[in-house]
Structures are given as structure tokens and as C-alpha cells.
Amino acid sequence: MPGASAVVNVVVAGLGGQGVLKASSILADTAFRAGLDVKKSEIHGMSQRGGSVSSDVRFGERVFSPMVPAGEADYLVVLAPSQVEVARPVLKAGGILIHPGLVDETRLANKRSLNVALLGVLARHLDLAENLWHAAIRAALPEKLHAANLQAFAIGRNP
């Protein structure tokens, strides 16, 4: 049967400037590198002026709508504690919430890499090869940030 059952739904949420869109791009690129059909959706413009930001990533054999239906996210990655309750309605019953409390931020070489560290936590649950994550992180960021972000990813992935 085509459609939702085979598709993995992830929502990344936070506040403008936290790297929500960067995180969703890295996730989408990783799934793309795995040869899957991928769609990623986000809203630009006024919402980015310090307000709530969220981005949907869906991947599988065939994805239709680019937006995760409410109550159907398998994973919700939240970068700001204040946004957990705002974003929670997207999560399905039994879905997994990944929040900043799951990462020891004092271990991060660069605090701004929290988004990538939380992707590391997400990676524990997903069947996407480690080398694809690394390639996507490198492709998304300037070279001077590679080391800090690969470290952040490792901290999330292997606590």
C-alpha cells in the first residue's frame, strides 16, 4: 500500500536563530543520501524574527505531502524547552520526544551545535548509516565548524 505507513515523520521545532532549519536540512540530506524519497517543509519570513520555527522532514519509499499531519510525527526534536508544549500536538501517541535535556550541553565544544547534538540522539532511533550523517553535516556547514558539529553529533549519538 502506498502512503503513510512506510514513511518516517520527523518534526524539528525551536526558536528563530537556533538552527532548526539547519538541523532539518541535515536530516533530509542524510535520508536523501540513503537513496530514499524525501520531503522537507518549512516556513520562511516573518516567523523567523525570533518567533517559533518548525520544519517537517518525511522520508521513505514514496512521500506525498511535504507536511507532517498533526498527531502523526514519529519523532519530535525540540531545541528550546519553551517550545515543547507548543510543538507536542504533532507527535503521535507513542511517538518519541527528543528534547535538550537529553544532551549534556556542558560537553559541547560549541553551544550552538545543540541542534546537531539532538540529531545525534535522533540517529539512535533511525536506520540511517553513520557515514551518511557525517557527509550531510559536512555538506551543510563551513569547514571551520565541522569538528565541533561532528563532536556534537557523537555526544548525542553515543552518550
Binding site: 537513496g35 522537507k40 517543509s41 516556513i43 516567523s47 518567533g51 505531502s65 507536511m67 498533526a70
Partner: protein, 562 residues
Amino acid sequence: MPQDNSDRRLASGNEAVAQAALDAGVALGTGYPGTPSTEILEAFDALGGRAQWAPNEKVALEVGIGAAFAGARALVTMKHVGLNVAADPLFTVAYTGVTGGLVVVSADDPGMASSQNEQDNRRFALAAGVPMLEPSDSQEAYDFTLLAIQISERWRIPVLLRMTTRVCHSATVVQTKGHFAPPAQPPTFVRDVPGRVMIPAYARPAHHRLRAKLTEIAAWNETDGPTQVVDGEDDLTWEPSKGSQTLPRWSAAGEGGGLPTRLGIITSGISYEHVREAAPRARVLKIGLSYPLPIEAMRRFAASVDRCLVVEEGDPYLYEAARTAGIVVEQKPAMYRFGELNVGRVRRIVAGDVSPEPALPAGKPPELCPGCPHRNVFEALRDLNCIVAGDIGCYTLGVLPPFSAMDTCVCMGAAIGVGLGLRHALPPEQARKVVSVIGDSTFVHSGITGLVEMVYNPPATGHVLVILDNGTTAMTGMQEHPGTGRRLDHEPTGRVVFEDLARTLGIKNVLTVDPIADSEAITRVLREALGRDELSVIIARRPCLLAAGAIKIREKKANAGR
């Protein structure tokens, strides 16, 4: 099955349009920044295409028309409300037609993620008589841009490419096609006075030519257009269909063995994606060229199912066209005309569910950045108890607490005209409190003619215009404009100096303040200006906090090159 990625890429709809424009050899891309269209020209520039920002969408379309008259391919981009500004040339270039392909992107914003209205620009295609293609994902954004150029050159007519927020800003997989056949000949001037000079004597036959072209395009759309019929799971389970030309008629519920009602859905654009997911059993007619419509294909489709529903975002455009043609279709309940569609809402539409939709928790609203130079200006306007005619940009956020210092916001440039109208009509003690506030890019876009009006029809109490000059088009993501003196690619070019412009037009009081360096200055000059029954232009100049670093580097580079 996982696929090989050698000729695939993950691209937003905007990036896909840019890639197609490059592959098609588009000679010139022009437009005005506007969410959700902005990234098209930026991506076209990054890919090596010639892209430039125009002062506004009308000028952009006129430049595109000129390039297309010369035989070159041109791409003109704007958000939905930008097409209102460009409507004047659009309606008449439909008559003149073009030589080189002319593609006009209208990026609509259903749900108003970052817009002042949610107008449905499919109406413009019908009103102007301009063919319109509606992609539903990045692959179609790529394919339909190429198709738009083919249609444009085959029928010598401009073509609208209607994107929507989710198509523009969703990344989906795109397979590119590489090189595309170049124009038949390189740009050269071929005189065609009756074809391009729209005096009434030449425009009357031009209108007939336009209608004849549209009749041909409609016939092409019926047989060879980008229309798809997709069988639903019911088709696959019960009997294979033979494709769009031979649709088996399924028996109605209760007949022929009690099969359930066959549902068919007519849709287009992003709604198609939601429909496939929300109603996997339904047979779907997906329309690609939504003007002129493939009405007979729609009629055949509707006849092939028991129940035919139109699922479209925004206005009932497809529904009304079908009903006008006597096709029996259902439309979505009225409540779904508002806002974006999504899978959940399409499920409700299919089920006819009109119960109130669950309210989602409100997120944190946007706000002026901490340290934003506009903050001091809005504090001053608030403290002086001004009546503020505002405009479109980041600074519209001055309407929210703690400033609450904006009283009107209608469209690009309206601050000046609306402020003048208020001054004309209000009793003098209130009129003297009216201030027009406009951003730098918005001022260039459509505030200059308002300033001319201010000089030409000054209110008895004078007027005060504040230009918030932060040196960039901040709202849409830091684009250049004629007031920055840099082109789209940030290289130096001619600069419009607001002070010189205002003085040249005859404004007596032209003052420039830096609202950060001297936070008292803006209050002082505002109070003085409001106390005079004269015309004043106050330029509050300080670079946007987010753009200041890049601006400094670019200015340094420009000075070094001098």
C-alpha cells in the same frame, strides 16, 4: 527501492525554478524580493545566471517584456501581491505577446505565513488571459518552468508559473534534464509596430489574436497538456484502468454487486500531494495547466466516478469553472477556503466534516530583534502618541507591544498615501499627530510616488514621513535595493540617495538621524517636525543588526575598488 543519486538532488521549489531557468538559457531574471519567491533569483545568480532586483514588480515585468521582445528568454519573479503591482503590464503583454519565452512566477501565500492577504492568483490568469502552470513539488517546478518556456515560445504568449508557499519552500527530489534547446535565433530587433504598440487600432485585433491563441492552447491542454489521471487503490484492486483516455465507469453504490461509492477528486498544485495521502483509494485528476483548463478532460473524469469532489486551496476556481461548464462536482465546505490545506484538512473535506477544527497551541510570535534600530523609532512614536500610517516589512512588528505604534498597514507604499488621506480628513489637532513610516526598500518600491503626492497635494497641517533606512530588504532575508547602491550580487552600482531625492522634489525639511548612536534624536526631530505645518522627511538610518557585518565588508570592498 533506494535509488542511485547521481542525477538526483534535493532542492526547494525555488531552487528548481532557478535550475530550470539556467538549463533553458534564460538570459535575464528579474523581480522584487517577496516571501515565498525571493530565493529563486538568488539561486539563479548563485548558479551563474544573470539575476537582478528591480525597484518593484511592475518595473521587473516591463524589463522582462523588453528582453522577451528582443527575442531573449526572461524570468520575472514576485510574490502574489507583487502581481497586483505588475498587473498593468501583464494584462497588455497578453495582447502583444512575446518573441522570447517570458515566464512570470507568482508565489502565492495561502495561510499568509508572511503576507497581508491570501489572494488566489489563478484569478489573474483568467482575468488577463495568460496561461498558468501549477507545480505541486520541486520536480514539477523544474519541469513546468521548462514547459512554460515552450508554451511561451510556441504561442508567443507570456506564461504564469503559480507557486505556493509549500511548493517554494519544500525541498523534494529533483531529476534535472540538462541542456534545453536554445531560442530559434539570438536576440535581434525585429520591428512589429501593430504587434507591440497598443494604440486602440492595433489593440483591438491583438485582443482577437489573444483569444485565438487561448483557444489553441486549451485544445492542446485537452490532448497533450500536463494533466494526469492517477488510479486510486480501488482501481488497482478492482480492475486496471487503461489510462486517461479510457476511464472505466464504475457502478454506483448498491448497483452491480454493492461496490462502494467511487470517489474521484479533481485537484492541482500542492493540494494534489495532500489528496494522494489523505484519500489513497480515490481516483485523482491532477491539473497542471490551470488556465486555460482542460474542461473536457474534467468532464470525462467526473463521469467516470460516482462522486466527484474538487479539492483546491484558496478560491473555488476549479469548482466554478467545472460548474460553469455544467460538470457535476462538489466543492469543499466554505470553512476550508481559509488558510492552507494539509493532509488532515483534506481528510475532513473528503468526509464532509465541518466540525470546528482543533486549535493548536500558539507559538511564540515574531518580534523586532533585540538591538534593532527600529525599536527606538517606535518607542518615540508611541511616546509622542502619534497616529502611525505604517507599511510592509520587519518594522510592521512595531504594531505589537511593547510599541503598539502602528495604526494602518495596507500594502507596499501605502504608508504615505494613507497618512496623507488621514491628514486631509482629520480635524487639525488629530491631523498634526499623523506620521507615515516606511522602510527603505519599500520606499523605493512604491513610496516615491507617494512622496510626489505629498509635494503635489500637501495637507493644510503639512506631513511627516519617516524612512526607516536599515540598508537592506531585511524582512525577506537581506536583499539589496537601489538605495543600498549594490546589485543583487552585492557588487557596487548606482545608488538612489533619499535625502537628495526628497530635496529635489521640494521637501523643505529633510533630516537624517541615527536612532542608535543618538537615541534622543529621533524624538527631538519628530517633535519639531510635528510642530510645524510643513512637509518633513526624516531618515532614520542605521544598518540592520543582522546585515551590518556583511554591509561593512561590502562597503570596504567597494571603497578599495574605487
